[in-house]
Amino acid sequence: MSTGSISDRLVEGFAGGLPSPTRGVRKLVSLVGFVAVWWLFYEFGVLNFEHFVSPVTTIVEFAGALAGQPLTEGGDTIYLHAVYSGARVAVGVVAAALLAIPLGLVVGTSDRWENLLYPALEALRPIPPISWLPIAIIVFPALALGSISVPLPALFVVFIGSFFPIFTNTIEGARTIETEYGQAARSLGAGSGDVFRHVVLPATLPSIITGLSLGVGLGWITVVAAELLTGGPGLGYIIIQGSRLLQNQVVVIGMLAVGALGYATSALVEALGNWLMPWSTE
């Protein structure tokens, strides 16, 4: 067989010339294999898996949840929980980006601002975002927009979680711009505002997108952690609620929903990057 990648041919060699399945079939094998291992663990009680939940039950209930059935007795649908968590991630990450990108550009391009801002922020960076929750619960007042209560403490935790990856990546991107681009622009007649707009901003954009991608990931991690503690509606709340009610299929459904939404939002950031950077070679 002359087609196929080198690794395909190597595997073929090891397998002694068995027919090589297509890419789609292999991906399906991966998913089915995962479920099969779960089922085996449940069925034969590996570790304490017999107390957990069978994949079959979970899949049936997941289908029901997607059809709009409430996840718990008298509770909300998965869509409502997803909308709440998604909105928290969106608001927290957007707020973080609006602050982190300008601050990062300023710190990355000005020594004076770096001296003023960087040490304090760098000292706060290693603190796990969720540990801000107790302070946030005390200092943020209860806020409601009409009938919807706005969970400021949870939003703040998401904000903190996504702020630092965006901030540090923006700084790094702005710091590593080749000085000759700025010199070339100035010799072509650009003022400092033009240099910022035509050189600093586009040259930093790839790092900003990387930071946003990491920030959105951190947003999902922190929103689930916050909801475990502050309550729902929300996917984190569903996970802890499922556990309390011994409805383990609900725990798994909540986890899978977070995974799927995390994947989708990071694809969204990637699409945003491609749209903003048509020059990018990727």
């Binding site: 010199q183 100035r186 010799s187 072509l188 007649g189 586009p202 020059w279």
Partner: protein, 290 residues
């Protein structure tokens, strides 16, 4: 730009004069003169100082093509950065059109050793960048530059989609779109293969012969230095000073064929001899023996 016409007539006069006289005309105030007076540039702080250039003097006439030939690390790029306005001299001064240089200016265009087209802009956006900064894009001029540089059809391409030679031509087009009086070029062709380099040298000679511009071209390639220049300035190893000035009396317009003539070889031998000891010293400096 109105002074350009008078410069053209001055030029044809000066061609008749001996180079000695030309250099003594320091009072000339045409657009595009560069006067380097006792230029010294020291990098670093007390105790860890590096004297890159030490008391250099050089006068460049308007519309003159001067190449600066020097061993690596001799401070030739430092001199260029002082003229461009990126660096302030530690001592002495750089006068352009009899005025001290204060920061970069579109009348002094720069081409760097590495291609510095903006990767995030298309070729067309790059070429228009200078005029756009002044809200003064001359479409017919841009179009004729694309034509002249063989870039037609690549207006919407991004720099990374072009070959090295095309990127260099695009960078030259970006510079020319701005119509600078002085072109500062820091080893612009050193990264190109021999064939492309030769074509770029001919392109640059064409461009220079068409318009009235002063060119300061830095190189470490002896053949390139003579092929292009009216005068070759040989620099010493660090700290950089003018070691020797060689008048290149080869006829113009020139093409790269000229490198096989006897007179070219004679000039090349002279420049090579002049730079040989300096290159040796520069190598010793780089190896830490001095």
């Amino acid at each position: 730009m109105s002074e350009h016409n008078t410069d053209t007539t001055t030029r044809s006069d000066t061609d008749e004069q001996s180079a000695e006289q030309r250099r003594s005309w320091t009072e000339s105030s045409g657009s595009g003169t560069v006067n380097i007076q006792d230029l010294t540039k020291v990098y670093g702080d007390d105790g860890d100082e590096l004297v890159a250039v030490d008391g250099m003097d050089l006068h460049i006439e308007a519309e003159e093509f001067v190449t600066v030939l020097g061993p690596s690390g001799c401070g030739k790029s430092t001199v260029m950065e002082c003229i461009a306005g990126y660096l302030d001299p530690t001592e002495g001064e750089v006068l352009v059109n009899d005025e001290p240089v204060e920061g970069p200016d579109p009348s002094r265009g720069v081409v760097f050793q590495e291609n510095r087209l903006f990767p995030w802009k298309t070729i067309s956006e790059n070429v228009r960048f200078g005029p756009q900064m002044r809200d003064d894009v001359d479409e017919s001029r841009v179009a004729s530059l694309f034509d002249q540089m063989g870039l037609s059809g690549f207006e919407d391409a991004y720099p990374h989609e072009l070959s090295g030679g095309m990127q260099q031509r695009a960078e030259l087009a970006r510079l020319l779109a701005n119509d600078p009086d002085i072109m500062l070029m820091d080893e612009p062709f050193s990264g190109l293969d021999a064939m492309t380099k030769e074509l770029m040298q001919e392109k640059l000679l064409d461009v220079w012969e068409d318009d009235d511009r002063t060119v300061l071209f830095i190189t470490h390639d002896v053949e390139e230095a003579i092929l292009l220049a009216d005068r070759v300035v040989v620099m010493t190893a660090r700290p950089g000073q003018v070691k020797d000035v060689i008048d290149v009396d080869l006829e113009r317009p020139r093409s790269t064929d000229i490198v096989t003539t006897d007179r070219f070889n004679e000039l090349q031998r002279r420049a090579s001899e002049s730079i040989h000891d300096e290159a040796e010293r520069a190598m010793e400096q780089a190896e830490g023996r001095v």
